[in-house]
Symmetry: C2
Subunit: 654 residues, 2 copies
């Protein structure tokens, strides 16, 4: 089923996007294949049990029972879970399962999918409304746009329905989605019952995808309405019950229209889902003003509000982006869902602009800020992804701890990870008028109508990528474009064994020729371990460096250090050599980086005051040396608990 | 009325404290006199109007009306304000006003005091219970120990009553306090209705002071009960209504008994009020195990969890201490009340141990972390006291912004500032068996039965302190001890013009002689501006230095820089000279510190990625130089809004 319609984000024929996701996109072996195997066989397979346990599925049964029994349910008694958006967990799992089935048939998973689809079908009201929280007595529908999450959940239902349709060809869930979208269209709009937006964006991308799937223009118009209506202060938390804390209009990006905004702000996931929707709209409409705003906002995010890991949303308080350069390593919020949202936004920008920088960020985010959220076991998760954990941390009770958890009270992240992993091959390659582009490197098959290639690579552990043409039916010259990652300082490129000039144009290495099956392009990306510095205005990690190799950010975990030395106790010499070691037995198989460091001065426990005059500061005398071992950041917190650091002080720079 | 009984914290005759607050303690001129004048004439004078406006006084009237009308008030309808602890704002103002009256008679203020006292008298229930939130239908008394704040408010009432008694000699409010304390004693204790503690400490210090004032041992026993009962997990937020977020037992220090604790943790104000109470108990009982625990906890706080300004409580989340070395400058919570609580704890430790280090921290906290919370106008306040504010900050709506506010929804800080300023002279000097000690330097008269001195100084602007003996009735040798501040690297001491050996013993400069009226001791503390480094494990400000002079921490405010240059854009040269200038017209009269800095590299807005390899980092080429002006941190945010920094990157150390 790997056809052009089998993955997420499919611009219509009318769209102005220069790039389209490759119609053939299969990951068959290597790093991501293993993560996707665990996702399918463990995370997705156990998903319905988790949703059952958390009460999400019970809500649909209860809503269905209410439809078939005329007796009203007592107010509020029927709903399981703490949040208005519990339904979205189900929809996200469903979307994930459908992308997985589109890739690899699985009878048990297909049966789970159809069972959940039937629960959803049964729960929908006659008028198309579907939101079990309000159906089960949580309040009056369409009265709490700020916190109600009705459109947010509708968006996830629609995305699940699109995935189900693309994976199975069935209209069963798509009909539910259309009836709900039609209902929304009857309620929302200028001069209608509701002339406002949802506190949590998400319906915008969904409506564009529904438009793409059904060719119904009303859905595109409705997406445009929500995108343009936002930023005019129509939301007010005061109108909702039970929320006495006012987050202010920036929280849900209702302070200024997207076109006028000059920075990403407020709740990170809300902001990025919104911008993903705007990118979809710009793709379908050719709106260049909107595209310019999106380019500006993406650059603001990358330049001033993104962690080395690609993670975003620095602040625990209101799960917000925070200020420019506010990037604390220890109290990083860096929600897993925000990394996913960043990938959604950047991928749409890659399609819209054809520029490599967006896929550069996708790569970094996937391998680090995103993947850290998923436990190696496929069964445990991180909600927040700090770049520093102390040996004796004081953590708030709840979801936002730095310890892997089987499920969350607010379980947005786990099924969101599942859907990105399940659809991941579709974020890796594009076709365009001139040929094929490889945005990400993984062993598999990628291509379109006139050029299909087989990729073999041990990426991210090794920088060699071998691309062999499998099919090239047209006799015309085609261009194969390979993204040259920003992290790579040295590379070579050969075609059928002959070296070729290989300067990148805007991040793309391009080979244009009349390709024939068996033609082989080999890209060698030099991948030494390296030290990386933060931008000069990031206070939180000034005077520090991070270890990286290829697309991977590394970290020191306490458990790997001699005598479980606390990583907070060491500094790096800027010129210390970095040694890469293959450790197939460790953490599912990784390469570690070793480097020698020196001990920082300990706290003077007898001091009456720890801040000292510059004049009396400790001399640069050599301190005890110690051999340190770094592991990829995405693997952290999968063993015994202990301290972790990405950024290490540089000796002599404190 | 400057007798031994006219200030806060008066150890009983049986107490083991080597030091007692000086019975004569008058600040007559200079820095603190001016702050206290504004406190009396503006803050305190306008206090009842604020409390009226916020509804706090109405609550007492409503509770009184309920007592005199048998008809029950409908549930919850009568209470003004958002918090269970609204009464405490009134009590704190009242305590402040009483300390002020004890110092300087004021008819209008005295009339306000008596009017408020009568409101309180009228509101107390027949059985002694007094807490308007529950009296006005907020719930059932003594059922919500976690969040109810009944004992917390009782503590503040008792403190106010003690102050009223000491200031006026009246028993009118003290009787209310005793009846309430007796009621509490009948409800709380082993085998009684409630065998638990209050979610917010504060009653412990109050009960010890009530014991000291009334000589009633039951109150000391009750304080001991609350102090010993804590740390055994008896609190559970789950038992209270309306609080679905569980802060965990550390939040209210119910995770481990004080004697066993090895670090300060949880809510900073709660932790420090608790430790202040424990220090009072140790003083009254001679409990050396408890004293040892308090010394350990104080040192943990100072060594790993205190800002340069003396502020504590780093974390917005749950207003908590945070981890060791978690001291972000930008997102510092550093609540004004926590600085006050730190002064309470440290002062009691100074009395208990006689050691100078505690008053060293008191000095630093008073001049910086505490005083920043009070606007220069006496009418505006800061709840949080960050050490860094960006030019375009994203602030959470509510009390916790970095802009001065006339009053807060949660108005704990303003009247708390008032009471510390009103009682401040009593934190400055002590007497002991051998003589008199000056802990803080201010122009005024300080002394006891056998030695009284007049101090003249322009502290903190100038380091000269002239101490002239006014009265020395005993013919025995007495010791005058002057604290040598830790910040001071160079000093001279003369007695009647002759230089004396002046090495400090444990922070005290001691002069022992048969003093006679007119004897003059002159201490000159060298006070050059200086650069200070953070401890090596504080990540947030690594590679930075702060400007200090004497006890004052300085900061750069945007408004003082050439062309309103953003302080985030500059670095300091470690060897740049610091120039002190007197600016009598600025900010009520300050000395500024000027230093030349250089511009940091700007963000590269065209960069696809801002983190760069160490190998390609910018060279050390000289950058544009700029003359910078620093003002005392306590004056910040009193002019136009803009960026502020305490810690500045050191050029060449990034």
């Amino acid at each position: 089923m790997n056809t052009t319609r089998s993955g997420p984000v499919r611009p219509s024929r009318r769209a102005v996007s220069p790039l389209r996701p490759a119609s053939v996109a299969r990951v068959e072996d290597g790093f991501w294949a293993e993560r996707r195997r665990i996702n399918a066989h463990i995370s997705l397979a156990e998903g319905t049990a988790r949703l059952e346990q958390a009460g999400n599925l019970a809500n649909f049964r209860a809503a269905a029972a209410l439809r078939t029994h005329s007796a009203a349910v007592a107010s509020g008694t029927g709903f399981s879970g703490d949040f208005q958006f519990q339904d979205s967990d189900v929809y996200k799992w469903l979307e994930a399962a459908c992308w997985q089935l589109a890739d690899t048939p699985d009878e048990a998973l297909a049966a789970d999918v159809e069972a959940v689809v039937e629960l959803i079908v049964a729960a929908q009201r006659e008028d198309g409304y579907l939101h079990t929280y309000y159906q089960l007595g949580g309040g009056i529908p369409w009265t709490e746009p700020g916190w109600g999450h009705e459109l947010y959940c509708a968006g996830h239902l629609i995305q699940a329905a699109v995935a189900h349709h693309r994976a199975t060809g069935s209209d069963r869930l798509l009909d539910v989605a259309r009836r709900l979208a039609d209902h929304i269209d009857s309620v929302f709009g200028t001069g209608k019952q509701m002339d406002t937006v949802c506190g949590h964006p998400g319906v915008e991308t969904a409506l564009v995808e529904l438009h793409r799937t059904t060719d119904e223009k009303r859905y595109l118009d409705l997406a445009r309405y929500f995108l343009e209506r936002r930023g005019h202060g129509t939301l007010s938390s005061g109108a909702d019950r039970g929320h006495d804390r006012d987050p202010g209009p920036e929280y849900w990006q209702d302070h200024t229209p997207i076109r006028a905004a000059d920075e990403v702000t407020g709740h990170a996931v809300r902001q990025l889902y919104l911008l993903a929707g705007a990118a979809d709209l710009a793709a379908e409409t050719g709106d260049t003003e909107l595209r310019t705003a999106l380019e500006r906002l993406w650059r603001d995010m990358v330049t001033t509000k993104t962690y080395l890991t690609g993670a975003v949303g620095s602040r625990h308080d209101w799960e917000a982006f925070g200020d420019a350069h506010e990037l604390p390593a220890d109290r990083a919020y860096a929600e897993t869902c925000a990394a996913i949202a960043s990938v959604h936004f950047s991928w749409r920008m890659a399609l819209l602009t054809g520029e490599a920088r967006y896929s550069d960020l996708v790569e970094r985010t996937l391998f680090n800020g995103f993947l850290a959220g998923a436990g190696l076991d496929g069964r445990t998760w991180l909600y927040v992804n700090p770049l520093h954990l102390r040996a004796h941390p004081h953590e708030r009770p709840g979801d936002q701890t730095a310890h892997r958890t089987p499920w969350f009270r607010c379980a947005c992240c786990p099924p969101n990870v599942m859907r990105l992993l399940a659809g991941l091959p579709h974020y890796m390659a594009t076709t365009d008028d001139s040929g094929l582009r490889l945005h990400q490197y993984a062993t598999g098959v990628f291509g379109g109508d006139d050029l299909t290639v087989r990729v073999v690579t041990e990426y991210p552990w090794d920088g060699t990528v071998t691309v062999t043409v499998e099919d090239a039916p047209t006799a015309l010259p085609r261009t194969l474009s390979l993204r040259l990652p920003t992290w790579c300082a040295d590379h070579t490129l050969t075609v059928n064994g002959a070296a070729v000039e290989s300067g990148a144009e805007s991040g793309w290495l391009r080979i244009t020729r009349e390709f024939a099956p068996g033609d082989t392009v080999r890209l060698d990306l030099a991948m030494p371990a390296r030290l990386t510095l933060p931008p000069p205005r990031v206070d939180a990690v000034r005077g520090c460096a991070a270890i990286e190799r290829g697309p991977l950010v590394y970290c020191l975990e306490q458990t790997d250090q001699p005598s479980r030395l606390d990583p907070d106790a060491v500094a790096l010499a800027p010129d210390a050599p970095l040694t890469v070691r293959s450790r197939p037995e460790l953490l599912g198989g990784v390469r570690t980086v070793s480097v020698s460091g020196s001990l920082l001065p300990a706290d003077d426990a007898s001091a009456d005051w720890p801040y000292l005059p510059l004049a009396s500061a400790a001399s640069g005398e050599p301190r005890e040396s110690v051999e340190l071992t770094a592991v990829p950041y995405y693997t952290w917190a999968n063993r015994e608990s202990g301290a972790m650091r990405v950024w290490l002080p540089l000796a002599g720079r404190g």
